[in-house]
Symmetry: C2
Subunit: 191 residues, 2 copies
């Protein structure tokens, strides 16, 4: 047998795809420290932090309106199952963070749905979890959105005709529409 | 008014009391890196790790049978309340960790009850949360148990006549007795 045939079956790896949008991103200043080219491995026992302080945050945003540490993501295994998941925690005292319809204050945390929109200030991040088997690490893959996520990316793909199932704790397109129409959200997100 | 009278009201601080027991602790070797004398402040956005690797773990156990990182504790604020809590996560691939009656495998996590016994290998740790208001940090206060926690410390104080209320997800003394009598637990914990 060749070494290829004898090699251990390769594990699939959980990958967290994060698509970033900011209305001022044409200048790309706030995203200049992020690597949009390659997947990055993160140890399962590490907590991935996002924020302005590059000494503390693995993913740093070069924007004075971003908190030193804005939020963190931890990888974990759900109790009594073999499923993995991510938990997001707001670490900013100044800024609320929303995950779909859930608003997180300072030190609040919540499970990240398999597909969700994270928002704080003018930032929108579409988070999509691609499940894998590996337990020792996960990967992150960062993308740059071409336009606002709530208007262009999220709404159409959540419609059933595109073949993407609506998650159990489903976000209906009408939710995003109603969010988009709310005056508060308009101000916050420049929609 | 004196400066004492004008000073801001001091905040109370959440304190996590951790009482350590190991059957070989008379030699105190495994606990030589822990500071039992003073309370320690931990930033609210930090994750407190316990394990053998002092480069990674704030609280290090000098014992080759302990994993590089054994478990972590994170401080958080419960959603829609002003209450704080701690979450414990098992970061050891080799060793199960139990929190009262809940067994955690690698990367499993669970809320730490206000009073609980954490066990892994021969270690027993009584964890008691003393609630406070401060949001930016919490304190840890480590103690050395005089004897096994399950036999001597936990059982009597959970009896109502001692004036300590039994928690909602109550641990009845019979639970600890039955655990103590189980052959598996006997082996694991040297009871």
């Amino acid at each position: 047998m060749s070494s290829f045939e004898e090699a251990e079956t390769e594990e699939t790896v959980t990958c967290l795809h994060l698509t970033f949008y900011h209305p001022g991103q044409e200048q790309r200043m706030m995203f200049r420290c992020l690597d949009f080219c390659r997947r990055e491995q993160v140890r399962a026992d590490d907590v991935a932090k996002f924020g302005r302080d590059s000494g503390v945050c693995r993913y740093s945003l070069a924007d004075t309106r971003v908190s030193r540490v804005q939020f963190s993501l931890q990888f974990y295994r759900k109790l009594h199952t073999s499923e993995h998941g991510f938990e997001i925690k707001n670490l900013s005292k100044r800024t609320k963070l929303t995950v779909n319809q859930t608003e997180l204050g300072y030190l609040n945390k919540v499970d990240l749905p398999w597909r969700s929109v994270i928002r704080f200030g003018d930032y929108q991040i579409l988070a999509e979890v691609q499940e894998g088997e590996a337990m020792d690490y996960f990967e992150t893959h960062l993308h740059l959105a071409e336009g606002p996520i709530l208007q262009e990316k999220c709404l159409p793909s959540l419609q059933p005709e595109n073949g993407i199932p609506v998650p159990e704790n489903g976000i209906s397109p009408s939710f995003f529409l109603s969010q988009g129409k709310s005056p508060t959200e308009m101000d916050e997100n420049d929609l």
